[in-house]
Symmetry: D2
Subunit: 350 residues, 4 copies
């Protein structure tokens, strides 16, 4: 049994951490901080948790929380973590950062994708990119983990086997569709129901910040530079991501070639499912049947009109794209069973 | 560890039973029957369960299943159960029927609400109405349980305390809003997405079949006849029910009066939550924050313009309104902890 | 051809006025004011209107606008109109007020339903309640019109025939379901997509402000006091209202009795449709097939279990519940054909 | 004033034709046929049209209808038109075919994209591809017009300027998102609300039949062969299409280069709108603000990470993607003003 704290627990990723940890047998949540909601019961902000916790949000500093827990989750906005983290690192605490501030290994990527110079570039080398399927052994031994971005996760899961098998030579074009929870809990004109409902909004036709992570990880698994780009859309739902990635291949690939790439990489992964069925309603991954769970559902199709592999990934952006991967990393870092607290099946009908 | 079978497991209630039981530590699902899908993997029809079960649907008869399990769930259409059940009862098996066929104690209610004479009226006395909060002790000792209807459940949960306290004298008017899953998995013009989306359809302005159950249970808890009526609407979502019930009272009631009625009845119930908050977004029950769980969320408001109590209930129609109550009954019937397999918190964001 | 101005044209009702008037052959919109968007093209805020207008929002005062137009629409918040209007009235301009500030004939209703004393009670007698079907002749001769509330409109349309025929003796209970556009264009936590989607939120279980208008109009048409109350819910859509009203009658009414009440009142109304079909998908009014138009769709059902008439109304809250009725009043006030600019059929599929 | 008939008028495209023509001053709809609904009022199937037409569906043959009208719309399934049309052509009637059966100029494309040999290949040369913006003069003189596919329309509108300017050398990858009405009015398990809601279903990762049309038209406008491919998704809405097309260019293009391509082609088009705004909510085309109208909303973005133009198109699939283009063609064929009956502005809030 360990004690954990969550800094920034009133946001959606924080709320999802609280939900997942509420039934985790090895963890006690000792602190949940929130500037805006300090003093409120957690269930005031996350009413689904009524009956599951009598914790109240506190206004403690990260350091105060760190002094009384074994592990700290940082669920704070991009750019905030980097100001908090250096001080925390010195305390020796285990740290799982949900922000983007320590995802790149190469500090020169921050100006490119985030528009700022990284103030603590030396720390980057001490963080592990928290995608268990690609970095399991490193995570087991890590003290500092940086949880991948949500669209990045779906993209990397679905493209890594193709990169590893050397099928990616030309730029990959990723088309992403994401629900509203991906943009957080702060109300704005853009998220006003009357404007957001029934819309298909291309909010980032190019230049999405997750591209940098995707290239880093695909290049790493491929062993040579991989280029990717993306157009990202918000669609009419709250949870879930679907990424449809086009890999224009120089050679004609067969279905067994591609299957082999996926199977050899993910055969024993507890949270990867292949959703490929030649008949029925669910022939490919669909956020609808993965939402609520920590699975990454993967599939692919070959295009015979042009030589193209269509790589498809679906995840719950708040779970496998955020809090679920964070808990999976926590399990690995602490020697708990990797799947502990994460094996609730998704709901079928949402 | 008991073995259970599910007859009619390809429907939505059957699928939800499979999902809940997939992580229940005391149960092994030994059989899942389906005429249409016999031979298919369960996850072909319920793709969310991929990775959780390798069971296949069978075409076994209920009797065949009964011969090799300890308890049988019947998730078959209304009117089917009554043909199957008499034969099963003779085998001595424990039976939990999800249909309406054994919900009334008084056989004369079938012609009124369902339009047919009950062919096995003597059996009705052997069934217990499977609402644990009202019939816990009977269920513990029951061999035959009939699971309440979904809208009936939400209505009864929210009105029973008022009935018990004698506040209901005149007819109660219930306004129900329900998601599409309540009408099952069979495609029809009425459920065609293009017609059903964005609609608020009053599919039953009067004469809804659940009225009979509601009157039965409210009269029973009240100790005198209670009259109710209902208008039922399908709304633009898949899961969830909200019932808003108007009780025109003859006396002016105070908020403490009504609180006392609810608290005294449900104080220690593990699956009843009071969702009443004078501030914030979730001031009253809302399907949004209960869906995915076995809770019944309750609240009320007083109307000072006319003497009226507005009793509000929200449940997940497939869980607390069907499969969840069925599992809760199963736990009671078998001496398992009542909440076993049912304590997953709802998701906040769906 | 008249010139009109719209004060508060960046809101949703203002936008809908602009849309309806953009194709009205007798009207030129000369001014559209908006404090926040002054200087912006109208299509910046209402992008649907791109290609239909090159008007820009101005920061003019209502008086400035009044000095150069023939008729003024006030689409400002409740409580604002009452500050602006007295000065405008003196100019002699024709005025159509979309707010609630001049809907009551009896100033004592303002403290009851809005919580403030009316500062210009003498003006109330000069306004006509802008429901053409009930006050056509008065509107034709009116200089000052107050447009009814949206839920009030749907309720009054569906209940007025019953009131007029003397069928309403006991309090009517109205259950209202409304889309998000009813609460305006201002973002808030309550309208944040992630919180509002898939929710059925009882935002006003009792005490809704439209009750006062409904009682005023039903009493007027009935010739004796009528009492009503309401529970109002926001549902998962943007446009549209459905009201389901329960009239517990003291006598048993037949279907022909009720038909006669509706027919005799609305037989020749151009914007009232009876949506009653014993078969098919659309047996009763449904916002889905009226949205986008100026119709009020009406229907009813008898309840034989208790003596109850269920009166059902569906409208587009922004059109027949706001801008459409405003344009219909404008047509009447100016001697234009009553249906001018308002006869676009609703879309079937939204 | 001409008389027109609609064969297959109970479907969604037929219903939309009926809606658009109900207010068209130059047209009288004399016949609406439907096998399944013969004898029913049109408003029984299209309840939105109640009050706009008292027409009944008939079971007449296309030839019977042809004998008493001036122009015939065929709104029948793919594969049906080709059986009907040859006989109709001989009668000399003007014909607008909504199906795919006469869209290709080259009969060899039918086996490739539709899987069947065309039985009347000689007729193909007599049909004009009914995209007014590309074939206006031909349509004016045409007797036989074939209306483009809906996803094809959005794709071609957004890509034609790039093709014409020679910017497309490598295969274009189109990512399409479409609402449920695109798949017609026939209920199936795939369109069952409980399965279709909240889903993002990649129903055609490759091999979509509209690719053939797109290549035909882009090659024609480009003057050299253009290759395209597509992944098509159904998303959680009823109406509307968004296409996001990736053109990987061999040269670095500037924004003025691309603007010039679009402007020079579409400058005077009445139904093309450029939706590009560097600020605000609607920076790019979005189905939300075009649905209900005959516009094609276009926009683009440059990708500086890889040399890519992202071409974005949004239309209402039933209007600019079907019935609206059909009416626009009818106007051209009959010498009516091209925009007659088509200038209703879209609704903002749906």
């Amino acid at each position: 049994m360990i004690k954990v704290g969550i800094v920034g627990a009133s946001g959606y990723a924080g709320g999802e951490l609280l939900r997942l940890l509420s039934t985790h047998p090895e963890v006690e949540v000792s602190a949940a901080t929130s500037k805006h909601n300090a003093g409120d019961y957690v269930f005031k902000v996350h009413p689904n948790l009524k009956g599951f916790t009598n914790l109240k949000f506190t206004a403690e500093t990260p350091s105060e929380v760190a002094s009384r827990v074994d592990l700290l989750f940082l669920a704070v906005p991009h750019g905030s973590s980097v100001r908090i983290t250096p001080g925390l690192v010195e305390t020796g605490i285990k740290l799982i950062d949900m922000s983007a501030d320590f995802r790149f290994r190469d500090s020169s990527k921050y100006p490119v994708w985030y528009g700022w110079e990284h103030p603590a570039p030396d720390l980057l080398a001490h963080f592990v990119y928290g995608l268990p399927e690609l970095h399991r052994e490193q995570i087991k031994n890590a003290r500092l983990v940086s949880v991948p971005g949500c669209i990045a996760s779906s993209s990397i899961y679905s493209l890594a086997p193709l990169a590893k098998s050397g099928f990616i030579q030309d730029p990959v074009v990723i088309d992403a569709k994401i629900g509203s929870s991906g943009s957080g809990n702060k109300a704005s004109q853009a998220t006003h129901f009357s404007e957001r409902y029934n819309s298909v909004r291309i909010y980032s036709p190019s230049g999405h910040r997750h591209i940098g992570e995707i290239e880093q990880e695909l290049s790493s698994v491929s062993g040579k530079p991989v280029t990717a780009t993306m157009s990202a859309h918000s669609v009419n739902m709250v949870r879930g991501i679907l990424t449809t990635s086009s890999v224009l291949t120089r050679d004609k690939l067969s279905e067994p070639d591609v299957w082999k790439a996926y199977r050899s990489m993910y055969r024993n992964e507890p949270f990867i499912r292949f959703m490929m069925d030649p008949t029925g309603l669910y022939r490919y991954p669909d956020p609808k049947v993965v939402v609520g769970s920590n699975f990454a559902d993967l599939g692919f199709a070959l295009d015979s009109h042009v030589d193209r592999v269509v790589a498809i990934g679906a995840i719950d952006n708040l779970i496998k794209g955020a809090a679920g991967n964070a808990v999976q990393c926590m399990n690995l870092m602490n020697g708990f069973p990797e799947t502990e607290g994460l094996l609730a099946p998704p709901m079928r009908l949402i």
